[in-house]
Symmetry: C2
Subunit: 213 residues, 2 copies
DNA sequence: ACTTGATTCAAACAACTGCTTTACTCAAGC
DNA sequence: GCTTGAGTAAAGCAGTTGTTTGAATCAAGT
């Protein structure tokens, strides 16, 4: 219960509130957090949230949005530093690593982020939805363009579905429901195994024109 | 706002409560439903939930559990009627179709079920978790065994990860966040395209023994 | 010393939460 | 007719929700 932080001594109230909200958001999800939970964890008064952020939802939105921008920044950066003729596997890696918590003990922060985004996806607020649409589009388009060069036999619409499905999988795998299952996989192998799986799915032969069930 | 149902005239209160709870559960998720919401939607009194089910949570649990058993029954039935030498694609189909809402307009009920299960996975109650573990294990094991015969080159642990990832994807694809994206895909093609993608992922070459990022 | 502006505080707010209690309705059994 | 018991209805329970209030605090400016 020591009050010391690792590298920063208890900053101002808004920062402490943001920090507490982020932690609780990752632990329980937005629906199970109360204003008192946040302020207690931050060692602040109930009124401080209204004073500094306007409302509880505004604070939560800010946290989610910052997680969102962080992830897309990483994705864009990784994508940008890949050579033009990068292989499919490298492209997938640039896509997956920022999205998915690697469960390596060091980046607790990324694990948090993964949980926060998964939660936000499930019950998105209008503000978050807007920001998501705005930021996701350009990065995903570039990613899809470069991927599609490696799988010319897959029609665009079908590739897009696979892309969406992988997004869904990566998000859900970060949630509590699968955290236990994934714990069995050696953390350092997890990313590689996922990449192999994703590459296999992307390169799969497309569905026949009209296959009956 | 007509009070008529399609094939059943407003049954007894417990049935109406179950129906209302199921609908709300699919629409908003458990965290955003209040006792009053349910009783208002069912045209019943607040006390009726306590009287017939004991508590709000007991009612919600009953709905979730019935969704759960429904899905596993379908999965088991489809799996049982497959010949012993069934192809990988047929196995995947028996797995996917009961799990994933097909978005065909006729089975509104299955779409609901998909949403309910996705929500239950995210914030599972102890009762639901127990039932899930009990029912999921045998079916999934049988499924994995039969699948693994078709992909002998994939190590068991890695196949298991892929299985989990597909589960995660199927669950998440049923949620609101992806409902809009999936609407663009022709509903009758969706299942086939998903099956093709899943088969590709399952048959993918496994990750190398120690690949650096 | 006095003012000012920004921040924090305890207290209270109305609205809502799940749940229980009490009174009432109404058909079946005697 | 009377009783019985399942079911419903309205009111109220204590507790929690997000938000607001008005006074207290405190460093900086004059």
């Amino acid at each position: 219960m020591s009050s010391g932080c690792l590298n920063t001594v208890m900053r101002d109230t808004p920062s402490r509130l943001r920090e507490a909200a982020e932690r609780l958001l990752a632990e329980r999800g937005a629906a199970r957090i109360s204003l008192r939970d946040i302020t207690d964890a931050a060692g602040a008064n109930v009124a401080s949230v209204g004073y500094h952020f306007g409302s509880k939802d505004a604070l939560l939105d800010e946290v989610v949005r910052s997680s969102l921008t962080e992830m897309y920044d990483q994705q864009r950066a990784r994508l940008a530093q890949l050579p033009e003729d990068a292989g499919l596997e490298d492209l997938v890696r640039a896509w997956v690593l920022p999205t998915f918590a690697t469960h390596a003990e060091q980046d607790e922060k990324q694990r948090r982020r993964s949980r926060i985004l998964q939660d936000a996806l499930n019950q998105p607020s209008p503000a978050v939805t807007a920001q998501l649409a705005e930021m996701a589009a350009p990065v995903q388009r570039q990613l899809l363009d470069r991927i599609s060069r490696h799988v010319p036999h897959v029609p665009q619409e079908e590739l897009w579905l696979r892309h969406t499905a992988v997004l869904a999988a990566l998000g859900a795998l970060g949630s509590d429901a699968f955290a236990g299952m994934l714990a069995a996989v050696p953390p350092d192998r997890l990313a590689d195994q996922l990449v192999a799986w994703i590459v296999g799915g992307l390169t799969a032969e497309p569905a026949g024109p009209r296959q009956t069930a």
